[in-house]
């Protein structure tokens, strides 16, 4: 440490110089062993930055405390690569949110300098994990439309691809399908199915290796070096790949469960998938007698949007029925086609496809099909004629059955070990009721009642957290995030196509390109030791001090990304390129053995302890706020920007995620005399907003046990709380803080103060 020298730079701009005593701050800096302290009226200007640069060059300054504005702004100015730096937020979180020239405001600034120095001297420039060999190759699982597109896209970007197909040939569903939906102007006619061309392109591509009759026996390793055990028709082999795209597609919903819609009652009641095959064969003939059908009814939402079957909308069935009807009419313009729907869903430009079908004479009937019998009598509750209409004289009935994602190998039985069960249910429940003003909280759906995906895992991941790729409630292997659809809880493994969400070929093609990009991005970042989204570029990663590890396994269980495995002696093994750097493992560890080079338990503890705690007679309580960097901290920042004023008794420390908060920090704070502690972070639970998936949920779970500890310390439970803060709470946050301070006031000072 002796060769390090910290420079503290005090900015006097934006009201800081007028509202605070910089002399006082300078003496605080010196008391706390700053190697150097300088002031500037506007540190963010070229001249200000030059001052800092000069000291780095000439004065041997190795660490920086920039005491100026928020770390969220002026990032392009205060960018000193390779130099540990702390931005003490004297502007947004001090002089803009507290009165100028006030004793309490000065105390905030003084503490910010103390915390900044405590922090920066404990930071190291992270050295990325780059050792060993790294593969740039992409594995694509599934040789259907999406998989082939993903393979071609990755190859076009210059990456080798290994394409694995379970069946004996490429093509997937589209191989047996008739025409494609129109995706280009004028969006009116069914388009040629080009799956054959796609197969040829894949086979002709020298960067793509295709293995058919091939399945994945197991997958170990991490991004940049996944070890894949393959089983190709009984022959085992091992391949190394850098990232994985899962494009296992979908299967039709089991129509035998749709007896009420006539499936099984007559051979002429078929599913849309069966109709597709008939159309592809050319010249549709009805199964019972081989005659060309003259009148065909399409029953929409056959199984979809039905809580008894598939609760979601399968998205493509409306357009597919329109396409099939148009193909039938093209073959014989006299054919009467009826599409019986509840809500007709032809979004975007597909509206024109709907109109084109109407022009060609397809009849759309809004209603619910009550029954279909063996004589093909369809009883429709016709919503617009306002009567029950029996439709007779039909030659065929087509059930527009929905899509079931192949997020498991459904036909391969699998003994679900306990972690796997969690993997397929441990996420938001899309059915959870919304709560509105004046209404009592509605009862939640029973999670146990949710259908579970059966079958074997696709990749059979050799991860501590189980073999499955996490699956959301409906069975799709999707991202939970709106703004980050390729967010994944298994780094380096991206899903594309209908296994992710019901989608048509156009969207699947885009999705394939997107997932392929994420895959190549991941292998490139793994090689350079950088994190992928959301802490993109972060080179720090968890380092375990095995001397102190008690093998409690909390880190391996709580990691939201399954980044930590256990060795044969139950010690945690970190896989750095799987890690997303949230620090949930660090927060989980009861004995502070996990740390990042620039973020670790001792660092935050020191920051907490560096704050000066006035004694109880000063009547100046101190409250520690540990604020999530992504939402709570910006909300506090914007409160400052809006000049919202709040209690000067709080001391704010940003954390990577509430998941990284160690309970030991709370006891540290209480033992040095803080009167209360607030964890500010994102919404956990249903519709969770934590971008590390379950960081705030883990914090909540840990906090539920804090009450007991506090009681045993003879402290009131109310002294420690977790606040749900969203980034949009900039106007509300001041009052939330003040309310908490009032609660603490009413409890009186922490009896440990001064011990």
């Amino acid at each position: 440490m002796s060769d390090r020298k910290t420079g503290v730079y005090l900015c006097g701009g934006c009201g800081i110089g007028e509202g605070l005593s910089l002399d006082q701050l300078e003496s605080v800096a010196q008391e706390n062993k700053a190697g150097l302290c300088r002031r500037h009226d506007a540190l963010c200007t070229e001249e200000g930055v030059a001052l800092i640069e000069a000291d780095r060059a000439n004065e041997g300054v190795t660490d920086l405390v920039i005491a100026a504005c928020s770390p969220r702004v002026m990032t392009d100015r205060f960018r000193f690569d390779g130099t540990p730096m702390v931005r003490a937020n004297l502007r947004e979180m001090c002089i803009w949110s507290h009165p100028a020239g006030d004793e309490d405001t000065q105390m905030i600034a003084d503490d910010q300098i103390r915390m900044g120095l405590a922090q920066v001297t404990r930071m190291k420039t992270p050295q990325p994990f780059t050792e060993g060999e790294w593969s740039q190759r992409i594995l694509v699982l599934g040789g259907g439309f999406t998989g082939m597109r993903a393979a071609l896209e990755a190859a076009a970007a210059g990456h080798e691809v290994l394409l694995i197909e379970r069946s004996d040939q490429l093509g997937g569903f589209a191989r047996n399908a008739s025409k494609d939906l129109p995706h280009k102007p004028p969006y009116r006619e069914p388009q040629p199915n080009e799956i054959g061309k796609l197969v040829e392109a894949v086979q002709a591509d020298d960067l793509i290796t295709v293995k058919t009759n091939c399945t994945v026996a197991k997958t170990a390793g991490m991004p940049g070096r996944f070890e894949i055990d393959l089983d190709q028709g009984g022959t085992a082999s091992t391949e190394t790949v850098g990232a994985i795209v899962i494009a296992t597609g979908w299967r039709p919903y089991d129509a035998t469960r749709l007896g009420h819609l006539g499936y099984g009652a007559s051979p002429d009641v078929v599913t849309n998938v069966e109709m597709e095959k008939l159309l592809a064969a050319g010249g549709v003939t009805r199964p019972s007698d081989g005659k060309a059908p003259k009148a065909v009814a399409f029953v929409q939402c056959a199984g979809s949007r039905d809580p008894e079957h598939l609760p979601y909308c399968s998205s493509v069935c409306c357009s597919v029925s329109i396409k099939q009807a148009l193909e039938l009419i093209e073959a014989d313009p006299e054919t009467s086609c009826y599409i019986i729907f509840d809500e007709l869903r032809t979004p975007g430009q597909a509206e024109e496809f709907y109109r084109a079908a109407q022009e060609k004479g397809v009849i759309f009937i809004k209603g619910k099909v009550k029954s279909v019998d063996g004589s093909l009598k369809v009883l429709v509750d016709d919503a617009l004629l306002q009567e029950e209409v029996p439709m007779e004289g039909l030659d065929m009935v087509v059930l527009a059955t929905g899509m079931v994602p192949n997020s498991t190998v459904a036909d391969q039985p699998f003994e679900n070990p306990e972690p796997a069960v969690i993997q397929v249910t441990d996420d938001i429940d899309p059915r959870s009721p919304l709560t509105f003003a004046g209404a009592e909280a509605a009862e939640k759906a029973d999670p146990a009642a949710r259908p579970m995906m059966a079958g074997a895992p696709l990749l059979n991941l050799q991860y501590r957290q189980g073999p499955h790729v996490p699956i959301l409630a409906d069975g799709f292997a999707d991202s939970h995030y709106i703004c980050f659809p390729y967010e994944t809880r298994r780094t380096g493994i991206y899903t594309a196509g209908p296994v992710r969400r019901p989608m048509d070929s156009h969207e699947a093609a885009q999705d394939a390109a997107g997932a392929a990009l994420k895959a190549i991005q991941c292998v490139r970042n793994a090689q350079s030791g950088e994190a992928v989204h959301p802490r993109s570029g972060d080179m720090s990663y968890p380092i375990v001090n095995y001397n102190q590890c008690t093998k409690c396994r909390r880190c391996t269980v709580e990691c939201p990304f399954g980044a930590i495995d256990e060795d044969e002696k139950d010690y945690p093994i970190v896989n750095p390129s799987r890690c997303r750097r949230c620090g949930t493992c660090m927060g989980a560890c009861p004995v502070r053995t996990i740390s990042f080079e620039n973020y670790h338990p001792e660092m935050i503890s020191s920051m907490i302890k560096s704050v000066e705690i006035p004694d109880e007679f000063d009547e100046k309580p101190r409250i520690l706020i540990l604020a999530c960097e992504n939402d709570a901290y910006p909300a506090l920042d914007m409160a400052g920007l809006n000049r919202e004023q709040y209690s000067p008794y709080v001391r704010i420390i940003p954390v990577r995620c509430l998941g990284s908060v160690s309970l030991l920090w709370i006891s540290d704070a209480l033992s040095v005399g803080y009167d209360g502690v607030v964890l500010m972070g994102c919404k956990p639970g249903d519709d969770y907003q934590c971008h590390f998936v379950k960081g705030s949920a883990m914090a909540k779970e840990r906090m539920s046990k804090v009450g007991e500890t506090l009681k045993s310390m003879m402290l009131e439970e109310e002294r420690v709380t977790q606040m749900e803060i969203s980034i949009a709470d900039s106007k509300a946050i001041a009052k939330m803080i003040d309310d908490f301070v009032e609660t603490i006031d009413s409890l009186g000072p922490n009896p440990f103060k001064g011990f």
Partner: protein
């Protein structure tokens, strides 16, 4: 119109009638694009006076309900305000379709008995419009009532006395000489030309 007979539907959603209408009714092919949004029926100033309204009538055509369609008062009650046509998101020429269906109903013999009432009113309306270039509510009503005979004229007139007084009060109806357009001669010339065009169109 090429075909002279519209086929009746044997059962619901038999498409014979719908296809015939699509092909033979003025604007029928655009009717195929109706998506049942209801803007037409909702736009209709006398929508409450229609048994079905245009939107439902179009669905009934698809359902092959020939008799119900051609005996509907919807096809007669249209006042040609064109609100529906202007607002229809699928640009279905609702007004033309209704008028053509009315003509068809006459041809098919559905109009005579059931729609006599409408026909009388239409006659009275046309009389006023052609004579004065304007519809005079008082004269149209009187002429219409009188078409049922003198007794009915008195009876109906009395029954609607209150409405009439209300209309006079709010200046919706006036007493005294009927209002006329300024250049009656030009009106006559326009009407004559229209009749000529109409005659040519229908052979």
């Amino acid at each position: 119109m090429t075909a002279t007979t519209a086929p009746a539907g044997a059962r619901k959603y038999d498409l014979n009638f719908a296809r015939w209408v699509y092909e033979n009714v003025d604007g029928g092919e655009r009717m195929a694009k109706c998506m049942q949004c209801g803007v037409c029926s909702g736009s209709c100033p006398i929508g409450t006076q229609m048994d079905h309204g245009p939107r439902k009538l179009f669905m009934m055509i698809r359902a092959g309900m020939k008799e119900a369609v051609l005996t509907s008062n919807t096809i007669w009650n249209c006042v040609s305000c064109y609100n529906c046509v202007v607002r229809c998101p699928r640009q279905v020429p609702v007004t033309y379709i209704l008028h053509d269906l009315a003509t068809l109903a006459v041809k098919e013999g559905y109009a005579e008995a059931k729609q006599a009432d409408n026909a009388r009113f239409a006659k009275a309306f046309w009389w006023s419009a052609a004579k004065y270039g304007k519809t005079d509510e008082r004269l149209v009503t009187m002429k219409y009532y009188y078409s049922f005979g003198f007794g009915e004229f008195i009876k109906r007139g009395r029954a609607n006395q209150k409405i009439a007084l209300g209309m006079i009060k709010t200046k919706r109806m006036h007493l005294g000489m009927p209002h006329k357009v300024k250049k009656g001669g030009e009106l006559k010339a326009i009407l004559a030309k229209a009749a000529e065009i109409e005659a040519k169109k229908h052979g």
